[in-house]
Symmetry: D2
Subunit: 273 residues, 4 copies
């Protein structure tokens, strides 16, 4: 089809999309500073982590209850019962929340409990899930498939926008290459390319992109000056006891340090959280 007809394209809509979710804005100069645990394990872990990252400036809390695990015997998340926990935290702490959804049957209920829904890298081309998500109005974070081209990624966004939802956030999380020292190779050049093609905001997940805690700060800094509209960072109140992805999760102190280090760079780029 003609590119001018694609809802993701700059020719369809030239101005940067700015998403407004309960007065938190994402896009343009509004920076999404998303943080929280990989998986929500229990109330204490979730609340402790959330309170701490909020005090450091995070404006959206991440946390998964549906977990896509490579190994069927690994911890699979709290499931639907965790949705209420997310809703409670959102109200108790008056903060925007997000979570991953994997199953088309979970879309509707999740959309009622959680502000922003996330599509993980393994599901970027799970078209029945995308179609179900196109029917709701919540903002959606669409992670890049681990070997998806930019064009394939935008076409998946096109699925999400099919029925008029324009609140789509693209999230780069590293691509799979021959290099095995890091979990993935973070592709920061993609930001400039995407900015020329689409009006949608682009955020970066340096935690999954690298798989190593010590890479999260440098890659966060690099993301900001590459033009990212936000960061999504895994933080855990006790990473050594995390049920998943402990090695890439920041401690509460690490995150506080990061939040201070990135401030001058946000100023430099005229971005505000």
């Amino acid at each position: 089809m003609l590119e001018s007809k694609l809802k993701t394209s700059r020719s369809y809509k030239n101005k940067d999309t700015i998403i407004n979710v309960r007065d938190t804005k994402i896009g343009g100069s509004h920076f999404a500073f998303i943080a929280g645990p990989c998986a929500i394990e229990n109330q204490d872990q979730y609340y402790t982590t959330a309170k701490s990252v909020i005090s450091c400036g995070a404006n959206i809390i991440r946390g998964s209850v549906f977990k896509p695990r490579t190994n069927p015997h690994s911890f699979q998340g709290l499931g639907r019962s965790g949705l209420k926990l997310i809703k409670d935290l959102s109200e108790d702490l008056d903060v925007v929340v997000e979570t991953e959804v994997m199953d088309p049957r979970d879309v509707k209920i999740t959309s009622k409990y959680v502000d922003i829904l996330r599509v993980g890298t393994r599901n970027m081309q799970n078209y029945d899930l995308l179609k179900e998500l196109s029917k709701i109005n919540n903002p959606i974070i669409l992670k890049r498939g681990m070997c998806a081209t930019i064009d394939e990624w935008l076409q998946s966004a096109e699925y999400l926008m099919f029925n008029g939802n324009e609140n789509i956030i693209l999230c780069e999380r590293g691509i799979r290459t021959f290099e095995t020292e890091l979990r993935n190779t973070l592709d920061l050049g993609v930001i400039t390319i995407l900015k020329s093609k689409t009006h949608l905001p682009i955020i970066i997940d340096p935690s999954h992109a690298t798989g190593k805690r010590e890479l999260v700060l440098p890659m966060s800094k690099a993301s900001i000056v590459s033009g990212a509209n936000g960061l999504m960072i895994e933080v855990h109140n006790c990473p050594n006891k995390a049920l998943c992805d402990g090695k890439q999760s920041l401690t509460l102190d690490d995150f506080e340090h990061l939040s201070k280090k990135i401030k001058p760079l946000l100023d430099y780029e005229n971005k505000t959280i």
Copy 2:
């Protein structure tokens, strides 16, 4: 977990799995010669193609009604209404049939209409789909993700076997590499590696692996002498008018030629269709 506990592993079950579906066997020396259109477009196209490939020796008919298309505006398949067509053909021509399933909500109904269910490359890590499929008893073809490691692929098979279904068929369909001359790079070394790790049968899809008609014959031949337990080949009665993947579909004559060319190689490998 211990590898010896993995149901896919040779240490769990040493002998080659042989799947029996309505007296058609797959695995060991029993060769699955799967052919048919990429997408089922209508009764005439499906029946014409099926009859022709059966007359050339094909023992399983492929054909999708749920189509995973990169572009949301492309033909998406006949959907559930196509399932009855598959069932009818299966009975009319007395042949084993297979089709792709993408949505967990379609698993149960599809399992009633179609002998063998297929998981496509984009859904290899769609865990909710895999979990739903683990509840049925139909044989399942699990395609390799386009950038999945062998270990990730076997772990997805592990999901399918979680509840006791042992009728899993692995299908290599090319991996994504820097080389762009072909759609994907067919990884035939994977057969020997898999044979050492798992008792499950392994088949090859040379059509999607290459994306080019002229590659299907040489890669089919290469697959057989590499030890494959079967082939899955796209055939269309009129490829130039195909609603998808026309460039990689064989004509009926091409397929007849292929079926003759591979016979000496099947004999050489002591495989029988």
Copy 3:
């Protein structure tokens, strides 16, 4: 430049190039069955291996004296002093020999001692070496760079043909991908693609492509039925004591077995050694 001007192209020369080196032919229906040790370690190892593989039908003996080793502290080969050994064996056993050359300064002397010169994967774009090689008349085996596209590979062949030498043999040896179970991913589809673009013969090195002995036989068989004009196989009289690449070297018995197994496939493809 215009493709029709490229000396490697079918439009420049439509008919398959057949190389004649001391009455051994390579190309068209003439199959190059190249075998021998990775590195020539000493006279006994070289002669013992060569005699054995010749008795099994090998018509060209491989063996390196200049070794490109990743680690500077690894065995670097016998160097120039090994060239006489190659020449002697060539005369004593009346067989065509080949060896790798890495340094432009070694080209002229090597061309006097050895029939066929080989450019390794790391040097496919070592243009000063290619230019020096373009000045001699010996046949040259040009291995594909480990992440070279087909177009880049052919352009390197173009360098070799710059001054009129048309005796170039392309050698696929696996490409680097994300998959780490094997050393490289053997790209057999490349043969059909190359046959449509170039008149030059194409051979396969299954030893370096896989890095594992047990893969050499299946990948050799697959290469033949994919249309290869030859094989280059590493054989060692005592692989466990090999100074390099022992894990991928066949024993003398392995090679005898392979030579018997491939005969029916050569007949099937109307290829003769």
Copy 4:
């Protein structure tokens, strides 16, 4: 061999290497701001570009006379006759200069005319070139091979350090991946990984990494905050007329803009040019 014995390793030398070439320092807090044309085409182009970038703060002038071109019919550089031009500019403008060397036979003479020698991506594993370079004392920039792992890269640096030369600068220039929108994928995570493994300085070439002018500024900024010890940027006084790589070359004005934009980031990282 034991890692502790590797001359590139932190266990061999813990302190950051700081290279001093004619009072210009590279490493630690000393930032190498390298700029100039891809190929030196003539005196006017070279001098005009060099004067302009020096006035913007560049402290090392790049420029190749030996050009590694994929196509044998492309402009191959001025060759040895260009070396005097480099030497003259170095003296006339009192600035440090660098150039690529490809042929072992050119090493000695180039080392007399030019301060810093560069090994290009295609020659990272051209071991005879590396061995020849290990015999001189000039600082050497070692570019990463386009599909080289970190370990292979460091082992090539080990070749250069074999005879005691410790003035080695690693240069990341993008790796080859499935993504084709950009020429390569810039791997910035490599900086943190390398800093933990080696004491050698690491610089980034955003021009070759992306192949597109508009990416050079964002990737330069990202490189600095990722911890790079320098940048190497292609600049041309008239990119549209450049004999090679015009699309990725900055204009003189672009470079002036870049030099201003990066200053606050160098301050932020406590780096000085």
